[in-house]
Amino acid sequence: MNIFDNKIEFRGFLIGALVLVFLLPMLNALTSPDSFLHVSSFQLSLWGKYVTYAVLAMSLNILWGYTGLLCLCQSLFFALGAYAFGMYLVLHIGIDEVYNTPLPVFMDFQGYTELPWYWAPFEYGAFAVFAAMAIPGVVALIFGILVFRSRIKGVYFSIITQALTYALMLLFFKNNLELFGQSYILFGGNNGLNDFKEIFGADVDSASTQRWLFIGSVLLMLSVYLLVAWVLKTKFGKVQQAIRDSENRIRFSGYSTTSYKLLIFTVCAMIAGAAGALYVPQVGGINANEMTPAKSLDVVVWVAFGGRGTKFGPVLGAVVVSVLKSFFLRAAPDSWLIILGAIFIFTVLFMPNGLVGLPQQLKPWIDRLKSRKATTSPVS
């Protein structure tokens, strides 16, 4: 079964994959820095970050675009994945020169002399990779059972997911958690986890590490794309969209919408977590600011702007908005939020199908222009 809609999509996917997996990393590794074709390591890791954003947007699109669940906690899952992998990274910094401690410095500040048991497994990279997906997955599963079983939907679902984000953000901002007379160290509070040195035995900031992280992010994005394309071709994908269009009907047709939504929600949380895990070594840190509700709203803007319920739209939206953000934060820092708001309002009012839907939307106009030209131009 061909999972692509047509040849154009298939070729586009292939070309995109070749360029991102081979061409860009090779231009970074093999050309000299003076060359016109050179892609700098800074550029590469910047684009690596955008790619992880694109994956995040795709995960929201599966929920919002295809299942009708406007989830406002996707950035939370992303950050949970980032924290899980960041814990591994922060445990491999080695002995701090200034404070002379083998522990992460924020633990030293709190008077810890040895690693708490719940931090210990994160010394292992494989565990951290697993946890980066499993932790968001488990949180989504438990939360989803509560929410979907009580049939919370629509705007109420959005609000409650935002509340979850806010609650966990407050928790992650704390340095310490006092629970039943016991004090638990958390995740570095305000500063979060940063200043990484090593990843799987390699220097985290070296050009080759960053290159592999970029390739890893791209492979994740391509796999998620294939997953979405495949599911859309199955009956599962049709059920998903039927839940969006008419949940009562599909439930009366005998589908347990609760289990469908639960599976989708959990898988999307895991995808977001995986993206977060790839984000953290490329950006060099994670802190609770990534959990603010506004971050999840950003993802909504990306998806809406790119084209909700389309396969490529979220990727495009995430990248374009992120590039614009990078540009405006340098050119006119204070203007960015206004511009972001304007983009969103413009999208809602004038581009219901986003960037991807624009050609289709403009087609009648162009046709009319053409026909007007045809009628007014003299017949020779």
Binding site: K235, F236, Q241, D245, S246, R249, S253
Partner: protein, 263 residues
């Protein structure tokens, strides 16, 4: 005053015994008794607030009664207590419901709408690895033929006319091979011609399925009526042929009278 069949010519498929359901003290359904025979086409009428929709909600396990029993008599002779099953299981038992407003999957094609409704496994894995067989396809084309939408198979359901949507939803029920079909105001908002066709469609299903049709439009009821049940204040007021019911003074008072006064 429900019609309790004493001589069992045709076996029963559904028995509702002494069911009561109240919302905030208001008795939407009050000691309701209702019996449906296999293959019967039953029309249920009643003024607004008579409890018609609650009645359907109860049969489809959408709401649970405060008291009373709702039994579904299966082919193998066993009974299922419908007050104890979950909503999505009701359709697997063989009870399909058509909502009052056409509810279809607007961004799917007419064909896919039926495919999703086709009887079969409903689990996560079975839908991920679903393979359409020739049998499935034939069944879908059969249903398309019955609801006269064959030529629209590839159209998006959202682009159909109101009447066609209603037929599609009836088709979606048929695709499930239901034993009992609950049809809520199928002719609402239809043109006269569409209403006629809907009537023909429902009559053609009589015998193959057991149907409960809720309807307001008396012209339409006259067309399809076999046995008519009149609900009033959550209770069966009268039951009998269309003419019997229509000439009953009590019915005229609570329902028909009110309707003629309104017009």
């Amino acid at each position: 005053m429900a019609h309790v069949p004493s001589e069992k010519h045709t076996p029963l498929i559904l028995s509702v015994d002494g069911v009561t359901k109240s919302f905030d003290g208001f008795k939407a359904i009050n000691d309701l008794n209702f019996y449906l025979e296999e293959g019967e086409l039953r029309t249920v009428i009643g003024p607004n607030g008579a409890g018609k929709s609650t009645f359907m909600d109860l049969i489809t396990a959408r709401t649970k009664p405060d008291s009373g029993r709702i039994r579904y008599h299966q082919d193998d002779g066993s009974d299922v207590d419908l007050t104890r099953v979950r909503e999505h299981q009701v359709s697997q038992l063989g009870i399909g419901r058509k909502f009052q407003n056409p509810t279809i999957y607007k961004s799917h094609t007419v064909y896919d709408n039926l495919q999703l409704s086709l009887s079969g496994k409903r689990g996560l894995l079975s839908s991920l690895f679903y393979k359409e067989t020739k049998e499935n396809r034939d069944k879908i084309y059969d249903v398309l033929e019955t609801i006269r939408l064959s030529e629209f198979a590839d159209r998006l359901a959202g682009s159909l006319s109101h009447g066609q949507k209603q037929w599609l939803e009836i088709g979606m029920l048929l695709a499930q091979d239901p034993k009992i079909m609950l049809v809520d105001e199928p002719a609402a908002g239809m043109s006269d011609e569409e209403t006629d066709r809907t009537g023909e469609l429902l009559l053609s299903l009589e015998g193959k399925h057991s149907l409960i049709v809720i309807e307001h439009d008396m012209e339409f009821v006259r067309q399809i009526a076999r046995r008519v049940t009149v609900l009033h204040q959550g209770h069966v007021l009268k039951e009998g042929s269309f003419d019997f019911v229509r000439s009953d003074p009590e019915v005229i008072e609570v329902y028909l009278g009110r309707q003629t006064r309104n017009h």
